[in-house]
Amino acid sequence: MASVIQYDKVRKIYNSGDDEVVALQEVSFSVGEGEFVTVVGRSGCGKTTLLKLTAGLLQPSGGAVQVAGAPVRGPLTNVGIVFQAPVLLAWRKAIDNVLLQVEARKLRVENYRKRALELLDLTGLKGFEERYPSELSGGMQQRVSISRALIHDPPLLLMDEPFGALDAITRDEMNLELLRIWHEAKKTVLFITHSIPEAVFLGDRVIVMTPRPGKVSEIVNIDLPRPRTTALRDEPKFISYVRQIRKSLGVR
């Protein structure tokens, strides 16, 4: 399996005033093609930093990040990104927020309108295409954001706690939808979360991170059958993975 992302002894130090914050120290692992890798850890352990390094929005202080075999030097354009906040443009309707991705790439909007509508349908927003973000719930806004990250059909999806702001029920639903989309489109996904059950439910592998300085404390292979269903959450095996990671994170 070819690796799409490779982290090699990645370090990231922030200078804020006189203080130095070691956000990441000696982070090494790789993500294979088509793999769904989740990263879990407390807030402040460098998860967002890792994602921004991957997307080329930050440069490492040491070590190297490679995507598709090449070192990341500037912002990657062949990715889809979803942040914790939906980050939509208030003056654009749902569909036009999705199509921003197309306009930005100077592609013909007309060729992508149908696909945008399909994605909004797939993410459960049929009938809401012409609504402004202020007229949508938080969960619906995040679905727009996911559609926007998918419309240019990127091989790599980077997601930073995308469901962190949602209620537990909507979150579980979104997990299932995301797995369905991933299964259909066969993309490589790097998914960041602070929820252990979510990391286990979604991932082929879970990267467990600990803070101060941010580093990988354990990598857990999740040997659970796919497609994953809600019932899986009650399986002893699922529960034992959750327990293992909780222990690794030092949760009492």
């Binding site: 997307a55 929005l57 354009t77 990104i81 980050v87 921003l100 306009e103 930005a104 402004y132 973000p133």
Partner: protein
């Protein structure tokens, strides 16, 4: 619905408001002769209306210069304010040098410079008064355009980079539309200030305009004419403000207006 403590929606009650002010006018009309106040102290509404009839032409001819000064001062304020805002947002040098000192500039009482400007640019020139209106009007435009062009979520700008957007497209598709509510807040503050600037300039310059008319009427102890001038000024302010609010509603179906930032 929005209901006050005593029920009723704020705009459903507009007829009550009108009725209330009509009663006040009637009261005013009755109380002035009752107290025996001379008209140079407080004219009655009827005397003011009469003044409009007598000197409608004069009011109109003095209204036009004030109107031009206000509009030109405002437009100049918008043009310079928005350009300065763009410069400060896009130039690191200006951001570091000028932006922090703007607060100081903002706290100078700019009408106090009016006499100087009149000396420099000439008392009888239209442009000296336009300049004063401009100086007063431009400040909220700078502040609001800086905020509008720069207050964009970092994550949105990060996304734009991964979408391959260049600077120009980022401006057109993100920063410019983002600034529109702020620009309108600036327009609203600036137009009101431009009226003040124009009138103050006319107070000092004493050549023409409603400000000048007020000074003349004051010297003649003609209070009805002062009141009539103030009413014309207020109507002008209100009309210009209304045009801006109308444009705002038309251009921004996604949100209601925000309040002007004051400094």
């Amino acid at each position: 619905m929005n209901e006050g403590a005593y029920g009723g929606t704020p705009f459903g009650g507009i007829k009550w408001s009108v009725l209330f002010f009509l009663c006040l006018l009637v009261l005013w009309q009755l109380v002035v002769p009752f107290l025996g106040l001379p008209s140079y102290l407080l004219p009655t509404p009827a005397q003011i209306v009469e003044e409009f009839g007598k000197r409608g032409g004069l009011l109109m001819s003095q209204f036009l210069p004030t109107f031009y000064e206000t509009i030109l001062g405002f437009l100049l304020g918008v043009a310079v304010g928005v350009s300065a805002g763009l410069g400060i947002v896009y130039s690191r040098f200006l951001w570091l040098t000028i932006y922090p000192s703007l607060v100081v500039v903002g706290s100078i009482p700019r009408v106090a410079i009016a006499p100087l400007i009149l000396i420099w640019l000439g008392i009888d020139s239209l442009w000296s008064k336009v300049t004063i209106a401009f100086l007063v009007a431009f400040f909220p435009m700078v502040i609001n355009s800086i905020v509008g062009f720069s207050q964009v979520e970092t994550e949105m700008l990060d996304l734009a980079k991964t979408m391959g957007m260049g600077r120009w497209m980022e401006f057109r598709k993100i920063r410019l539309p983002n600034s529109i509510p702020y620009l309108f807040a600036g327009f609203k503050a600036s137009i009101a200030l431009a009226v003040i600037g124009a009138v103050v300039a006319e107070f000092v310059a004493g050549q023409k305009g409603l400000g000048y008319l007020i000074v003349v009427a004051n010297n003649d102890l003609n209070a009805p004419l002062i009141f009539a001038s103030i009413i014309v000024l207020s109507a002008m302010s209100l009309g210009l403000f209304g045009i801006i609010v109308g444009l705002e509603k038309m251009l921004m179906p996604w949100r209601r207006g925000i309040q002007p930032s004051e400094l």
